[in-house]
């Protein structure tokens, strides 16, 4: 059934566009409905302006544009497969730093993929991409829910459009697959939503919300340390809001000191859990050597100097369709409206400053690793949405007059914003093939000849070690990791840490005795393709171990598949 449906759509591209553009129109309609004065109390307006309709429209619009990539199989960047491999290992009872190492990401990145199981999704590329899209939708909805506490409903809704070029229109692989930024962004968005619910309220529920918000924000760096600048900025902004927050009329306000303590305690809770975990399992040595040192080493090896960050950040966004125009469109609109917003709403000036501060923080987070990785662009999306919300809201003050003048002006403004944010990215999207991937062959795309070969012989409880940088074989076979590394970048690539990684790799092989070993250093493989230079036989200890304990089962397309002799 699914096969024939996908084949039909691949053959009738107009059907894809019809659904996608209809969903976008629905999203625009629910946003516009919030602008219609309440005097026009028609059933259609009521239906469209309801939050449920808006939520459904957001989900439909993002999914309608994104779904073909769900079935595209492995894309250029093998990171997604690495997280799937980690999640498979965790599902089999593995523990972070004991059975898997996520290098420059934290353990929450593969852990989050376990949510595919209760959602009924497969733990492979398809499931990971659906989950990534759902996470992004959840993040923008959380942002909308946060924004509507401070801005008008229509501004909060329109702000969601700022995420559209990146997370719906872009066809670039890094923005479509499950990435290590996906989870921390969701955590931060949810944290902000939960914590801001406490502003202006009192009592234990407010303290509980602040604690909960703190936990979510504090957990983000355990998904990706690159989220640290965001955590610090969000924490500082929340603290500032707690101390500046005016007392709501007729209500008591939670005391700033208690509120700050609740927020701080929440933020420290994930750290406390982490310390407890590391102490309980005796993993401090691993964490210090392989998480702390690796991240320090990684951050110290920049591909470009700090002072050229502006060019490089734009250049790293350039390969992603619609990303540069989306970035410039939203920033340009906010910049152009900033002076008016500043004048119009003196009480909202702190929010305006805060929104630009968040954008700067996003820039710092993107530029800090000094690498040209396009998936870092994810980090801009939510700050751009927030910036759009507060600027749109700040442009108008007061309520509509009897002749509806203000409402009309708001409509024009919303139209201008939608044009600035969507027009060019949509033009770019329309200029590329609607269904980029061979939908009709979607099953074949999920598995290679190597994965299929292993699947025919594998048994329950088997583990797999891949030499090279091809964690896709885990996703294809569903086998967990037999070593803590899902890829061999730090083992094969020469660096100050290479010896430690090699020692640990051999240790894991001897301890876990994985049944499968694949040497994926072959032509066309990611990063390591020269077998004479990078093949496993170039490391004598590993060569001897493999020769002694494994037998060569097959060599397919230059990839050597070994099976343990016993």
């Amino acid at each position: 059934m699914l096969d024939s449906l996908l084949s039909w759509i691949a053959a009738h591209v107009w059907a894809y566009w019809l659904c996608a553009l209809a969903a976008l129109f629905a999203l625009l309609a629910t946003t516009a409905a919030a602008l219609v004065p309440s005097a026009y109390n028609t059933p259609l307006r009521r239906a469209l302006s309801s939050r449920a309709a808006f939520t459904l429209a957001v989900i439909a619009a993002f999914l309608a544009f994104r779904w073909p990539v769900f079935f595209a199989g492995p894309l250029h960047n093998p990171d997604e497969a690495q997280w799937i491999a980690g999640a498979l290992t965790l599902r089999d009872g593995g523990l972070p730093w004991k059975n898997l190492d996520s290098h420059t990401s934290g353990p929450l990145t593969p852990y989050a993929l376990l949510l595919t199981i209760p959602l009924g999704l497969p733990l492979n590329h398809i499931g990971a991409r659906v989950l990534a899209t759902l996470f992004q939708i959840a993040a923008v909805l959380a942002l909308h829910a946060t924004a509507r506490r401070f801005t008008r409903e229509w501004a909060a809704r329109a702000a969601v459009l700022a995420a559209f070029p990146f997370w719906a229109l872009s066809t670039f692989h890094d923005l479509n697959l499950y990435s290590s930024e996906t989870t921390p962004l969701l955590l931060l968005a949810l944290g902000a939503w939960v914590a801001t619910g406490a502003l202006g309220s009192a009592g234990r529920s407010a303290l509980a919300r602040l604690f909960g918000g703190g936990v979510l924000i504090g957990a983000a760096c355990f998904a990706k340390p690159q989220a640290l600048p965001f955590q610090a900025a969000l924490g500082a902004m929340l603290l500032a809001a707690l101390w500046r927050n005016p007392r709501p009329a007729g209500a008591t306000r939670v005391r700033p000191l208690a509120a700050s303590a609740a927020l701080g305690a929440g933020a420290l809770a994930p750290l406390a859990v982490f310390v407890g975990y590391a102490s309980l399992f005796g993993l401090w040595g691993q964490i210090l050597q392989f998480f702390w040192e690796t991240n320090r080493f990684y951050a110290g090896q920049r591909d470009y100097p700090w002072w050229s960050s502006l060019e490089h950040v734009l250049s790293l966004a350039a390969p992603a369709l619609a990303a540069v125009t989306g970035l410039l469109g939203v920033t340009g609109f906010c910049l152009a409206s900033s002076a008016t917003a500043w004048r119009n709403a003196p009480e909202a000036r702190a929010r305006l400053v805060g929104s630009w501060f968040l954008l700067v923080v996003a820039f710092v987070a993107v530029a800090t690793p000094g690498r040209m990785f396009t998936h870092y662009v994810h980090l801009f999306v939510l700050p751009l949405c927030w910036c759009a919300a507060v600027h749109l809201d700040g442009l108008f003050q007061g309520e509509p007059t009897a002749d509806g003048r203000l409402a009309r002006a708001q409509r024009w403004l919303a139209l201008a914003f939608a044009a600035a944010v969507l027009a060019w990215p949509l033009w770019e999207r329309l200029s590329v093939p609607a269904v980029r991937f061979e939908l009709a062959r979607w099953r074949e795309l999920q598995i290679s000849a190597i994965g299929a070969r292993i699947r025919t012989d594998m048994r329950p409880g088997d583990r797999l070690v891949v030499w090279g940088w091809t964690p896709e074989y885990h996703a294809e076979t569903g086998l967990p990791q037999g070593a803590r590394e899902a890829h061999g970048a730090f083992i094969i690539g020469e660096s100050a840490l290479q010896e430690r990684y090699r020692w640990r790799f051999l240790f894991d092989l001897r301890r876990n005795r994985p049944r499968w070993f694949v040497d994926s250093v072959a032509p066309h493989a990611f990063a390591f393709s020269d077998h004479d230079r990078y093949g496993h036989q170039t490391w004598p200890e590993l060569r001897d171990l493999i020769a002694r304990d494994y037998e060569l089962l097959a060599c397919l397309d230059g990839v050597w598949i070994y099976r343990r002799k016993d």
């Binding site: 060019e311 350039a318 910049l335 409206s337 002076a339 008016t340």
Partner: protein, 589 residues
């Protein structure tokens, strides 16, 4: 006694050996430029009053227009002089224009003796101005000339700007141009490029138009409008077709300004009819270059040459996009990126202008119309940059510089007026400070602060100007000799000082397959037979631009050319794969 170089050369060498001295001079000049730009803020405060007499004499001197002109020229020279001596850089275009200029100096004619491909004949012809300026027609002379050309563009913009905005605004608005043209080291920005003549023509056209729109002298107005039209049309027609969007935008802005001007000064005959003579002068002026070109082509019988090798060649070039229009915003960012600091320069100035948009009162119609015109010009410039569909052509960015500065000028003026109306204390200082901060922090930071270009290498500057091949041919060349270079190395014309023996200074369109390849090949053989150039160099060799593999691209790959060279030329030497041929003497007798 060993030969001592002249004092000025020794001075350059000393400064080059001491990096701190270079930077001290460069940044002191920058500070002088900034001070001269801001001085009118004190001597001519807002409100139109002239505070000059109350100011110290030193300040009045600093604010004087003459010293500002000197400051602009000095700024470009102080930063750029090491590049003057750098010899050939990566892009051989500059050498192509010098080769064309050498040919024109020897009595050559456009499309008869030279062909500039995607540029018009004015690109090399402008370089003939080095002669009255006493500069050599080689890399050194042309780079000095380029700096002067850029200074002239900036000064034309300043003269136009001060007609509409306060003096200090018109001066300070040159900062983005200074950041771009003085402080960037990328080769395409530092060397003579085909866009610069167009940019100068359009800048001067804008200046003429600005004076015409604001003057009360009707006859002068008509003359200047005709001149503005002629210059604006000449830029795309005869200097660089790529500047057509910019020329059209400038023409539109001038036309709108003319049609709107009578609204400010109503006359009994009605607003539109009062503008008619001005519009007619502008249009007639714009038509003049077309008429002159038509006459030239008719007199010399070059219509077919023009049609095939200029018109069709440019149409084909533009049609071969490497990216689509929807990707042009990303492509523009990609064009900017390799020029260190250019992104910060453009984004800083555009960011300030976007910010200014929100601060202009709705009632300030004059500001809005100027802003609309400035944004139109910038949009046209960006369209001109992305229209050819090529990424690795950073020299296209020259087209953006003046529109960016003009946008800065009108934005600065709008923000200043807004703050003045809001009775903000020292509004001028606040606006100027914000502008300098936003537009210059990034670019100045990105100007290499540690290592000046060519640091410590100036001592060898003479050696950089010529190769062994150039020296060899130069030693044997006789007056009247001509040279043909096979490959993409027009630098040998510069090194030898020899004019072109065929219309092509490089063989890109002759070697690369394309719809017009056979036309180009036929014309090369025709030129070789007609001109009988004494020298032929096959520069397809390792390390050379464009073509390195002799088996694939050497002149032998064209059978007719191989036979012609074998019949009429002798191989006199081979330098690292570069083969130098001389026409057999029997051919001359």
């Amino acid at each position: 006694m060993p030969h001592q170089p002249p004092l000025d050369v020794r001075l350059f060498e000393w400064v080059d050996h001491h990096g701190w001295a270079y930077w001290l001079i460069a940044w002191s000049t920058f500070a002088w430029f900034a001070a001269a730009a801001l001085a009118p803020l004190v001597t001519q405060p807002a409100g139109g009053g002239n505070n000059a007499s109350a100011c110290p004499r030193r300040l009045r001197l600093l604010a004087s227009p003459a010293l500002f002109v000197v400051a602009v020229v000095a700024l470009l020279c102080a930063f750029r002089w090491p590049l003057w001596f750098a010899g050939p850089l990566e892009n051989p275009d500059e050498a192509e224009w010098i080769a064309g200029a050498l040919t024109l100096r020897h009595g050559g004619l456009p499309w008869k003796s030279i062909d500039c491909h995607t540029s018009g004949p004015l690109s090399p012809a402008t370089l003939l101005l080095t002669i009255p300026l006493g500069l050599p027609l080689n890399y050194v002379g042309v780079r000095i000339f380029t700096s002067l050309l850029q200074a002239a563009c900036m000064l034309a913009l300043w003269r136009a700007g001060r007609r509409f905005v306060p003096e200090w605004v018109a001066r300070l608005a040159l900062l983005p141009a200074a950041n771009f043209w003085a402080c960037r080291w990328f080769h395409d920005i530092g060397q003579y490029s085909s866009e610069l003549t167009s940019v100068l023509l359009l800048s001067v056209a804008g200046w003429c138009g600005a004076v015409a729109v604001t003057t009360q002298r009707s006859r002068l107005k008509l003359v200047l409008l005709a001149l503005a039209g002629a210059l604006a049309a000449t830029a795309p027609l005869l200097a660089k077709p790529q500047s057509a969007p910019l020329a059209l935008a400038l023409g539109t802005v001038l036309l709108v300004a003319l049609l709107r001007a009578p609204e400010r000064n109503p006359q009994p005959s009605g607003p539109r009819s009062a503008a008619t003579p001005g519009v007619a002068a502008l249009v007639l002026g714009a038509a003049a270059p077309f008429l002159l070109l038509g006459a030239y082509l008719a007199i010399y019988g070059l219509g077919a040459q023009f049609r095939v090798f200029y018109w069709q060649s440019n149409v084909l070039y533009t049609a071969e996009h490497t990216y689509g229009w929807p990707e042009s915003a990303t492509a523009f960012a990609a064009i900017l990126a390799p020029v260190s600091g250019a992104t910060a320069c453009v984004l800083g100035a555009v960011g300030f202008a976007v910010l200014a948009l929100g601060s202009v009162p709705r009632s300030a119609r004059s500001h809005w119309s100027r802003l609309a015109g400035a944004w139109l010009l910038l949009a046209a410039a960006i369209i001109a940059v992305v229209a050819p569909g090529r990424i690795e052509r950073q020299h296209y960015l020259h087209l953006v510089v003046i529109p960016l500065s003009w946008l800065s000028a009108v934005s600065l003026a709008a923000v200043h007026e807004r703050l003045s109306l809001a009775a903000v204390k020292r509004a001028g200082v606040v606006v100027a400070g914000a502008f300098v901060l936003v537009t210059s922090t990034g670019p100045v930071w990105r100007t290499s602060l540690q290592t000046p270009p060519m640091n410590g290498q100036l001592y060898f500057w003479r050696e950089r100007q010529t190769t062994l091949v150039g020296e060899y041919v130069r030693a044997l060349a006789e007056p009247g000799d001509e040279l043909v270079v096979w490959g993409w190395s027009p630098g040998y014309h510069v090194e030898t000082g020899l004019p072109q023996g065929s219309r092509e200074a490089h063989c890109g369109l002759i070697i690369n397959p394309g719809p017009l390849q056979s036309h180009y090949r036929d014309r090369l053989l025709f030129d070789l037979r007609r001109h009988r150039p004494r020298w032929f160099i096959d520069a397809v060799a390792p390390g050379h631009f464009g073509y390195r593999d002799r088996a694939s691209f050497g002149h032998e790959t064209v059978p007719d050319l191989r036979m012609f060279i074998a019949a009429h030329y002798e191989l006199v030497d081979d330098f690292d794969g570069v083969r130098v041929y001389r026409r057999r003497d029997s051919d001359f007798h």
